[in-house]
Symmetry: C2
C-alpha cells in the first residue's frame, strides 16, 4: 500500500465533489480506538410488534413470503412488509406545490413501508443465511416494482438503520422503504456529478471506479461474480463500505437471477466483516438507485452505501459538508480483510 495514503490527506469525491479529511495528524484510528465509541445495544425481544404471533400489532400487511400459504397477518411468513405505523408521509392526496410568502411547500404525500427481514428477533444480516437475505432482496424489488406504478412517486429510497445510535427505534431486524413525490437534493447532486463525468468522458464514473479499484487492489473488501465491495477512496466515515454491481445498471429493481444471490452473499460478508472488525457497530445502509422513470441511464449506476455510525457527526461536518475521517479507507480495508470469513 502506498504510505502516502496513510498520511492526513484532503480527498475529493469524484462524483459529488465532497471533500473529506482522511487520516489524523497524530495517529490514524484503528479498530481498537474506534471500538471505544461503539455503544452496546442489548436486545430484549419483549413486546415486539414484528415477532410472529404479534401480527395484529402492525397495520395490515402489504405482502409476505409464506412458503406454506396461510392467511395474511398470521404467523408462517419468512419476510413480511407492512406500512409504517407512524409514517413520515401519508399515502393519500396529491403533491400540490404552492408558495407561502417567500417559502415553498406541499402536502407531505408518499409511502412509508417496513420490511421485516426475518421472524427471528435476534438474527441480523451479518449472521442470517444467504438464502434468507435473498428473500429480503426479493421483497425490496417486489415493492419497488409495485410502487413505481404510482405516477405520484418520483423516488424510492430503501434503507436500514441498525442499532439505536443509527436511528433504529425497534430492535427486530427490519429495513424501510420510502416513496417520495420529489427527487431529493442529495440524489440530484449525485446524478448531476455522474452526468458531468459522462459528458466529459462518455463513460460511467461508477464503472470507472470499479476498474480503478480492481487495478489498485488496496480498497477491496469483498467480491464475487457479480459484485464488488470497496472501502471508497473518499470514505466519509471510518469503515464505510460501498457495494457495486459489475454490470452497469442504473436501477436496483432490475436486479435478477444470480445477481440476487450474489448481492445477498456480498451484503452478508461485508456486514459480517464490519461486525467482527468493530465489535458490532451501529450502521445505516442505503440503496442508491436512479429516480423512477430515469432507469436505463448510461451515466448512473445503482449501488449500496454502508455507513458505520461510530463517531458522532459534529458541528464541523454539518456546517460544511466537509467530513473528518480518522481512519483512511486503505487501513480500514486491511482490518476488514483480516476478519476470517467462512
Amino acid at each position: 500500500m502506498s504510505d502516502e495514503l496513510l498520511k492526513p490527506l484532503l480527498r475529493r469525491d469524484p462524483i459529488v465533489g465532497r471533500w473529506v479529511i482522511s487520516g489524523r495528524v497524530d495517529k490514524n484510528w484503528t479498530p481498537e480506538e474506534l471500538k471505544k465509541f461503539v455503544e452496546k445495544h442489548e436486545k430484549t425481544g419483549k413486546n415486539c410488534p414484528f415477532c410472529p404471533g404479534n401480527e395484529k400489532m402492525t397495520p395490515p400487511e402489504i405482502m409476505a413470503d409464506r412458503p406454506q400459504g396461510g392467511h395474511p397477518d398470521t404467523p408462517g411468513w419468512r419476510v413480511r412488509v407492512v406500512p409504517n405505523k407512524y409514517p413520515a408521509l401519508k399515502i393519500e392526496g396529491d403533491l400540490d406545490k404552492r408558495g407561502i410568502g417567500l417559502y415553498d411547500m406541499s402536502n407531505g404525500i408518499g409511502a412509508h413501508e417496513v420490511i421485516i427481514e426475518t421472524p427471528d428477533h435476534f438474527s441480523e444480516f451479518a449472521d442470517m443465511s444467504v438464502d434468507q437475505i435473498q428473500k429480503v432482496i426479493v421483497a425490496y424489488k417486489t415493492r419497488c416494482l409495485d410502487l413505481k406504478k404510482d405516477p405520484r412517486f418520483k423516488y424510492l429510497l430503501i434503507f436500514k438503520n441498525y442499532g439505536k445510535v443509527a436511528g433504529a427505534s425497534l430492535e427486530h431486524p427490519h429495513s424501510q422503504l420510502i416513496a417520495l413525490p420529489i427527487v431529493p437534493k442529495r440524489v440530484r447532486e449525485e446524478l448531476k456529478g455522474a452526468h458531468r463525468y459522462f459528458d466529459y468522458r462518455d463513460r460511467c464514473i461508477f464503472c470507472d471506479i470499479i476498474q480503478q479499484e480492481l487495478y489498485d487492489r488496496i480498497r477491496i473488501v469483498a467480491d464475487n461474480a457479480n459484485f464488488l465491495a470497496i472501502a471508497p477512496f473518499v470514505s466519509r466515515f471510518p469503515f464505510e463500505i460501498w457495494i457495486l454491481p459489475y454490470n452497469h445498471s442504473s436501477d436496483f429493481s432490475e436486479i435478477e437471477g444470480d445477481e440476487i444471490a450474489d448481492l445477498a452473499q456480498i451484503l452478508k460478508e461485508s456486514l459480517y466483516r464490519l461486525k467482527m472488525a468493530l465489535d458490532d457497530p451501529p450502521y445505516n445502509f442505503i440503496i442508491h438507485s436512479a429516480p423512477v422513470g430515469d432507469s436505463n441511464s448510461e451515466y448512473y449506476h445503482w449501488h449500496i452505501e454502508i455507513m458505520p455510525k461510530i463517531i458522532k457527526v459534529a458541528g464541523f461536518e454539518w456546517g460544511s459538508g466537509f467530513y473528518i475521517n480518522p481512519t483512511p479507507p486503505e487501513l480500514a480495508t486491511e482490518y476488514l480483510k483480516a476478519v476470517e470469513y467462512k
Copy 2:
C-alpha cells in the same frame, strides 16, 4: 398561527433547495416527547486541560484575554485560544492538489484552534454573563482577522459542539475554529442558492427572510436592536434556531460596536430558551460567513445556525438530504417563547 403549518408538510428551503418533512401524520412532537431523547451529560470537572492551573496541558496559547496582564499559559485569563492538540489539519505545508488515478487529493493543511470560553468548567452560554459571551465573540473575531492574512486559507469555520451526543469530546465550555484551504461544498451550495435569488430579485434572500418573518411573526424566538432569532421555516431539526443580523453584511468578522453586545445577548437568550424548553439538550452551532476574500458580497448574509441534536439523523436523511422534522417550527417557537427569560 395558521393551522395549515401544523399539518404534515413538505417544505422547501429557498436558499439551498433542501426539502424537509415538517410535522407528523400522527402527532407533532412537543417538548415532552422530545425530552425523552435528551441524553444527560453530567460534568465531572476532573483532569480538565482547559481549567485554570492546567495551562501546560494544552499547546502554547495563541491569544488570551488577561485583564491583569500576566504570562502566557498561566492563570488569570478570561478567554483563551489554543491550537487543537489533535488537529484535523496541520498548519505547515502547501495545498498541492494532485490526481491519483481517477481520484483527487491534496495535503491536509489548515488551522484548528480551540476557543476556551470561560475559566469556569461548569458554566455555559445559556448561563454565562452577556459580558463574558462578548469576550468570546471578540476572540472569534480577532482570530478570524488574523487567519485571514494567511493566503492559503479560503474559509474560516467557527462552531461549537455542546454535549457528547453533539460531538463534544471535552466538557469544559469551548468552541472551535477551523481554517480551510478550500471552500467546502455545503458552503458553496448556500452561496450559489443565495446568488441565484439575487440574480432574479436583486435582493439578498436573507434580508427578505428577515422581512417575511417580521411580517408573519409566528417564528420569532427573540430579537433586539441588531439581531433577529427565528425558528426557520425549513427547520431540519426540532427546535432549530437561526440568528441573523438586521444589517446586511456577508462577513462575520466585520461585526463591531453594539452589534457585539447584541449578538452576545441574543445568543445567550436563544440558548437559554432552548435549554429550558428541552431539558438541556445537546446542540451544535455554526457561524455561516462568506469565504475569505469574498466579503462585501451583496447576496450573502452571515448568520448563526443552532441545531439541537435530540433525535438521531438516520439512514433516510443521509441518503437523501431530505430531513424529517416531527416538530413544526411554529410549534417550537411557541414553546421557546413560553420560557420565562429575565
